[in-house]
Symmetry: C2
Subunit: 393 residues, 2 copies
């Protein structure tokens, strides 16, 4: 058996986070995390829970009673959504146009559901006609789509049209809003979304660990009338209802500090105003986009479904994406990411999220990226990029 | 749709946490949580992951390679253990002597397992003979027991004897060590425990959100040779192996800040030395126990299976437990808890865990409890209690 390991003080490097998340965290949120704890059943914590639920409703643009932070990272909120709404024997329709549709399928199968697919290439949104065709063919009980695809930088337009098709077929709609919440226009109620889950570490700029989830009454009715319980006890919403609902009964120990952090991150959203925040993301990411285009690079997504929070930029010819990413990290303490799946090696994924969506970060990113690409021999005009970004900021 | 909620600065009360967890957090751990984030795939974070795994092995007293923090609170680690080790059609033997055996049963059923029980009253440990009988009768594939029962204040003795019985029957042993890790002697390898899960917010005094789990090769072999995947994608250890194992491939976004916190909390364990830490808990809780006994109260558990980290104290005659608990919270900012299940209304549950297991907290607890009980008309001698505690500290 080993002796006590010699582990030194925590001194991680001071990164600038412009990848697919986490984003830079506002110092106010970091400070909130150093607050001493109260118990998870303390009356003062119940009050904090109420405040977080109110702030989440505001941010999701919903009046849903069942709006809570799930005790885990974004994938836990995703599994809470799918694992509760999909019952054994149900059919779930999922998209094939990115990494996270595949994860939806995996979770739906483990929940005991059948999976059917609506196709679109990686880097394209779903078309309403393809969704309508899939509904006619498969008659699914649940339809999942990704509002903001972190793997491709695509924003799904026409959400109301998609939900309308689903509701004509009496299906519930589950929206992945991990990379849109708090940064890109998202209107859960107005757009007819029944269930939405999200991550805190993207446009909310909150450390991961407590993840937003909202369900309307239709969805919650299905959850509460299941014939057999959800397959996860930890994520069973009929049990979590006891803790986050009127009863406030013990289910599991909530991640108290993460709830503190989420509260502060959401207060920042409320102070800025949700619509102003969406506009800021569009402006900051717009300056970033102008810069990379002026350098001579291409965005992977056309403007009509460009996702401001996640900019997929085509890797210039003759350049190795991994080398560029490593050099940015090593020489500039700057994180961006490469492509996944079908887009591996073809795109850079550059986040512009929350506290990272500000002039200082965008300016730094465009300048650093331009320098490294030029140094790697890419046929780009770094100076033109920097100038175009500066003009837009 | 509501306007932006008006939510003020985070100002929770300044509690002294002497309940069943969370315990008071050391300021060094709180400070670690205000550290800016790096990405969950950053090379510097990989190094931090290695350090946390080493520190967890030290604390669990194991050489198990598969030793990780699960991305959720203690119940997530519990479900990761049971949901991966129990396959559909397996039989799991669980205890009936406390609240958490019932939770084991619930999770085993949802994993597709059959549940059989080994009986002991609430407030008693399991006897090896009852376990042997249950094995002979049911031939279970998996045996779960609770090393430190938070609901009853009972420490399970004879662990090696229990695991020996299980291994003679080729069963795997899963130990709930939520309330023992880092505070009460626990030797995973020496005692023949195959799988152990824990919580960070008890004797490790770390905010909840990343929870210790360890599996030996026998257990991991079973997990990796399952015929059908675990029912939770989020907690599937065969997938988490990709992230925490040699590959370090993306599975889900780790709760980075919680990992920072756990690292600092475990550094404190390593600095103190695990055996010294066990002794400190015994000494501090011993002073607490001497105080409540000198006042004239009774412990629910006899000394031979007393659990220092969770002291179950019989509620004196004529006193309402809820009133005492509320007054301690309101008048003393001091958290303790009442009984659960079969012991509801009969015991106070007083934690003595991690950073809360120190003279200042124990002295405050004994004095405050004595004052409130006397004021409520209990037949106790508060002064004698305070004196007995002071002598032992």
């Amino acid at each position: 058996m080993q002796d006590a390991p010699q582990v030194g003080e925590l001194t991680p490097p001071n990164r600038t986070l412009m990848g697919p998340g986490p984003s830079d965290v506002n110092p106010r949120v970091l400070r909130a995390m150093s607050t001493p704890l109260v118990g998870h059943l303390d009356p003062s914590f119940i009050e904090i829970m109420n405040e977080v639920q109110d702030l989440l409703r505001y941010t999701f643009r919903t009046d849903n009673k069942w709006t809570i932070p799930v005790s885990g990272t974004g994938s836990a909120a995703m599994e809470a959504a799918i694992g509760n709404v999909v019952e054994p024997g149900d059919t779930m329709l999922v998209p094939t146009n990115g990494y996270f549709g595949g994860r939806m399928a995996e979770m739906a199968r483990r929940a005991g559901g059948e999976v059917v697919e609506v196709d679109a290439p990686w880097g394209e949104p779903l078309s309403p006609s393809a969704v309508a065709d899939a509904f006619d063919e498969h008659q699914p009980d649940v339809f999942g789509f990704v509002h903001a695809e972190t793997s491709t930088g695509v924003r799904q337009p026409n959400v109301s049209e998609l939900t309308g098709i689903a509701h004509e077929h009496d299906a519930l709609v589950v929206a992945d809003s991990v990379t849109s919440i708090g940064g890109v226009e998202l209107r859960v109620d107005e757009w007819g979304i029944d269930v939405a889950y999200a991550g805190p570490q993207k446009c909310l700029s909150c450390p991961p660990g407590a993840s937003p989830l909202t369900l309307n009454d239709d969805a919650m009715d299905k959850v509460l009338s299941r014939e057999e319980p959800a397959r996860s006890w930890y994520l069973d919403l009929s049990l979590l209802e006891g803790y986050w609902g009127d009863e406030r009964a013990y289910h599991h120990t909530a991640p108290i500090t993460n709830v503190y952090a989420l509260r502060e991150a959401l207060r920042l959203v409320a102070e800025e105003g949700i619509a102003s925040r969406w506009k800021r993301h569009e402006r900051m990411a717009g300056a970033l986009k102008a810069g990379v285009k002026a350098m001579g690079m291409e965005m992977n997504a056309p403007d009509e479904y460009w996702l401001p929070s996640l900019n997929a930029v085509r890797v210039p010819a003759g350049v190795d994406d991994g080398t560029v990413i490593s050099r940015l990290l090593d020489e500039y303490d700057l994180e961006i990411a490469g492509g996944l799946g079908d887009l591996s090696g073809e795109i850079f994924r550059i986040g512009c999220m929350g506290h990272s969506a500000r002039p200082k970060n965008v300016t730094y990113l465009v300048n650093a990226l331009g320098s490294v690409l030029a140094d790697e021999g890419a046929d780009i005009d770094a100076a033109a990029g920097a100038e175009a970004t500066a003009e837009k900021l």
